[in-house]
Subunit: 213 residues, 8 copies
């Protein structure tokens, strides 16, 4: 049996989310059903399209599902407000993690645009958008491979930068450790880091920071 922590939001400022990976369709149906019965909203992450398809009709109907970010909302959506969080993704392959962050913020009512394909090898594409970037109050930067984006962005903007290394890459970059270490070792101060591919974690950190405002 899965025991939900329905009071987590009050205690820690972040509503409980359910990591769908490693859970069976039956377990997920129970969890979603309980949330709906209690009249609570719920965020599911790492919900693969095949698992979503395997859920019963009633559960699927109750979910707002997005396949690229592998996220689902139970209990409806809320209106979005632009509160200053921007998400920057180095390459096409980093978009999944970027959208996981964006959807997590959207679940909580925050609109966070994703600026993609601004990798460092095409530095001008990034610098051309500098005026846009400096207006963000919080920046989530998402990159795999060598992770140079983290240092470059943090050198350009005054906002806190939350780095999401991704597992995109091959050879020494396989699994994301190279990007993770680049984020942690960044010579640009003020960068903080979450686990590899953890767009959800970056978004919840951003939510906590927004409460400071």
């Amino acid at each position: 049996m899965v025991v939900m922590d329905w009071d987590r939001e009050q205690r820690t400022g972040v509503a409980e989310a359910v990591l769908a990976a490693n859970k069976s369709p039956a377990q997920l149906e129970t969890i979603v059903g309980a949330a709906i019965d209690k009249g609570r909203r719920l965020l599911l992450t790492r919900l693969d399209a095949e698992v979503f398809s395997a859920l019963d009709v009633k559960t699927r109907a109750a979910l707002d599902y997005d396949a690229i970010s592998r996220t689902a909302f139970a209990g409806g959506i809320v209106p979005l407000k632009a509160t200053g969080v921007g998400i920057v993704a180095a390459g096409t392959s980093d978009v999944a993690a970027a959208l996981e962050a964006s959807r997590t913020l959207a679940f909580a009512g925050h609109e966070a645009p994703v600026i993609a394909d601004v990798g460092v090898a095409g530095l001008w594409r990034l610098i051309e958008r500098r005026d846009e970037l400096v207006r963000f109050r919080i920046v989530i930067a998402v990159a795999g491979m060598e992770g140079a984006l983290f240092s470059v962005v943090a050198g350009l903007v005054p906002a806190p930068v939350i780095a999401v290394p991704t597992s995109v890459g091959y050879g020494v970059a396989e699994g994301g450790a190279a990007a993770l270490h680049a984020a942690l070792a960044s010579c640009a101060p003020g960068v903080t880091v979450v686990n590899i591919d953890n767009g959800f974690g970056a978004a919840t950190a951003a939510l906590k920071m927004l409460r400071l405002a």
Copy 2:
């Protein structure tokens, strides 16, 4: 020759600091002298006591030096305000990194108390201080060994938690990788992480977050 980035504060929100490790006394004397001549304040980190002792009299007199945190201020101190940053350190050996964070915040005018010896093995010591912890707007958590403190603190407080893993420990904990991985893999959402022993980085991230308020 060392080229200073005197305008970094304006561009990125964080004044340039000088990593004193790997710099000779002569280089440090030049940098400090230049800061004073320009009427600028400067923070030095990782300034070992032996290197400080090797500086010339004039430079030493110009610095406010703290041996435990290995930090020095050039250009004088500023009055401190309590702005809601709290620092929690698991054990006695984690205090050096905690004080590096505290001094970096103090350099920028923020008073950040250090609560030490609240490791998880003595969980009650931590829980007893919960009322104090929940009042912080930002928490910097500092721990080596197995780094369980990060998850426990993030499960207790609503504030953003910045984790500083330390290199304290032996065997599998040597060098700090165990604590680093614990911080990144924390099951408590909203934790962000900086490099091992990087109290300075945690403080600069906190400074960027405080600008949100």
Copy 3:
């Protein structure tokens, strides 16, 4: 040909168990048949559901199989006695390893309840059950991700704590090394550790400890 060590129990206090992984259905049928012919009981571990399904009817009929823990008993079950072993699992995904431990103990006649979903991020769920936990004479703690549960439980209970790190997790936690290192580096003394996902090993260690009583 597989050579069984039928006298191991007498010599080492633990009956031989068969690691079914990497063995063919034919090999397993032979081993189970031999045990039944000799009138001996036998525990099989890591017996995947597909392999169990591929066994011949006679062998399947001779086995008490549990799919989640991937364990099977040949030679019947024995009545269970509550002898004070408790199993604590951090999350839903840790239950498989927890049940491997529980079934191994049950094979030997010991009833060991599994308390699940008491991860550290919801610290109160764990603390609320403290009265229950302190009554156990031996605690097996099962956790993946950052493994903070090991230190927290060992800080709460006087019993020996046997830590089972699990391979649950992603990024730096993938494969279980982060949880393993957290267990080994625990600042709470008295924790001992077994290999990743080794619920069987934890249970056999508990069996040896119970002989001390």
Copy 4:
């Protein structure tokens, strides 16, 4: 300031010990003085001979110090009883960790003999002492290099075996990871493991197990 957890013994079954490594002589003098003032006994571990020599006369006089195990007792010794814990060390270089375990047990009143130089390369030396080994109720096995001792001992005795890998060795064995992995991967069930060089941890685990009797 160091905050002691004087009530840990009552709560977890193990008295607080002080890891002297990374503490200054002044800090240690304060801690020892406080223990004596409160009339409490205290165990110090990892107290190097040079640091012991640097303590003031009063503190040194208050301590029962052993240089090989780097342990010290404050508050006097207690009479020893033979309660069935045996310690087996593979080579000469493993004796320091073995004695750390023995002294920790002695601090708590348990006599635990150390059987040294019974490495696996001279298997007969070990087998010749089998009658002695099988009489122990708990065995602490200490080995570096390839750590074959753990499996061999656990295959010989019915008692729980607590493995202490040591950092003795060079090349692939440097730092103790090879011995640690050998202990964790042991094909002999019932072995539990503590961190590299952690004789203290093995002894505290043994103390918790002895409470089962």
Copy 5:
């Protein structure tokens, strides 16, 4: 095009063998056809059963194939002589690598018996066969998990011991690194080591040693 080194045997004492892994059926058919045309014998290793099945009828008919060891002989077999090489395998799962060694030796005319299931956890099974073991002139020892077999065997027999670590195992033993490190760090002198799962390499080393006789 694959360029064969038909003269390798004369130059280095070992006939060329073909690593079938990563080669297409068409490439293998060409290589085997060329060997037969030239009237040469050829050993193929790592030839999976599916790939063997995908070869054309003529090639399959020309090969003496063994599925467990994944080896095939082209050009016929030679009469076997007992020349004193023995192979010892710790567990059932190590038999594949042991048979790769045995078949490689058989290809060259040497009979090498495989003694299986003599792991260290059942030490007596190994010691009972000591008289048999000491008669071997060369011993190939095959083990995964913690690899304690290497040290134990080398402590029992006067012959050179060639260790083949295997990738059998899970957790810290996954992939074979734990067994490899145990072999290299063995405290029993005179052990030499080959790559993980490299039964072929161990056999070719034994062939070179036999030329010394």
Copy 6:
């Protein structure tokens, strides 16, 4: 006895250099003496200042020594020509490796300026010098920490970029692996990489490339 490969230059395009690390003063005196007797020029690398000081007077007089790059020339210097190699170093601590490259090029008659303190955190310092950078025909980029410089420079200039990761850094960057992986995983194509701290290797690669012109 050290056997010199005096004909290497003719065969491979690069004169033999002597790695002074791990050689005794006596060995170095012999090597330098032999070079002078044969009328050959010789480059020594990794010659620490203490070892240089320990050489006899005659040898020291025969050497053109530079302490920061730890290089020495025997047999005199040659006039320098500007041939288009530029060296870019991220921080003050990277200058040693940068100068090892510059001196190696100078030994062969090429003038290679070092542009230092152009790290990515101060991106404008780097971009301001872009006109200077694009004129180089070959760029050697030297950086430790997170190594973002490699990708940024390779995104700015058309020349081949040879990356020299340095061991500067702490935590995850300690020893240089983070910078090495960043260089290898760079998303900017056309970057090639040498070993950590290997300024000499980068320079010899540049020399080989210059022969193409």
Copy 7:
């Protein structure tokens, strides 16, 4: 949406290529269509045969596809000139990476022959072709396993050697790290290295070097 960097060639000397891995057929069809509409040539790498087959007819017709190297050209081919780049591959399994390099060079109009099966174990095969090798102006060396080829080739030829380690191999060589480290640690100066399996990167580096001529 994928943002192409159509001006990269002018700025950095290398035309943009598209890493097809992790991109959907629909994304690839859009990219190829845009290139054709703009009248631009485009190189696709890591385009698996299954993904190529899944493209629509029009896109497939527009591409010159090679399955072994997994590369495709859009916008037609250009006449090839022999400009002195040679590619040397140690074994059959290294040919895929070698052909990725060769095709990348062909896309840019350079003919680069691949010399395969010249591994070090058959040293004479390599030495016999020395006259051919020394005529190359740039050598790309491709090898997995232990990567001895890199040092041997660099000891034979005066040209710059670009090493491409491959992920071919098992045990300690799995994934290519052993070959990568051999390339970086090569005692033959003048070797530069690219990421594991990165034939494309080696070719683009060669293209940059050819501009020096």
Copy 8:
């Protein structure tokens, strides 16, 4: 107390040797004294010059000490016979391990010449001595850095090749893992490997092989 295994030679074919590292002068004096009293010869390895100097006069007089190989013989030397073992060392820094092997063989009466400075970067130096190399019955190859020597030598000679990787090197080669992996992954069959810097182990393996003759 150190327990010697005086009968090891009879049982395993190799006399016991004493690893002097980590033993105190007093311990070594006792061991050497006991050997002399019993009229036995004894080999000491890893005996640093400073430790040798710290031994008492009587012990030093009883030892035949060699500082480069850090070995000492107690009980006199024996006449040497040339029995066909050759030792090949890649560079000057590999000579210490090569001499440890040579001295171990000399202790047992075998003369084993060391051929030094035949690294692969100067391939001709090695090939020029091929006639000499092919006459050896057993070859011990010693190399650090990238370890290409192992494959090259094994491709040239018909004898068994025992590889001794050394810890010589920096960057990715630091500590010897790159050379170790090169030895294990060698594409030249028949190479066996010992631990990093373990010249003693290679020699004892050679001694066991010589008994085959």
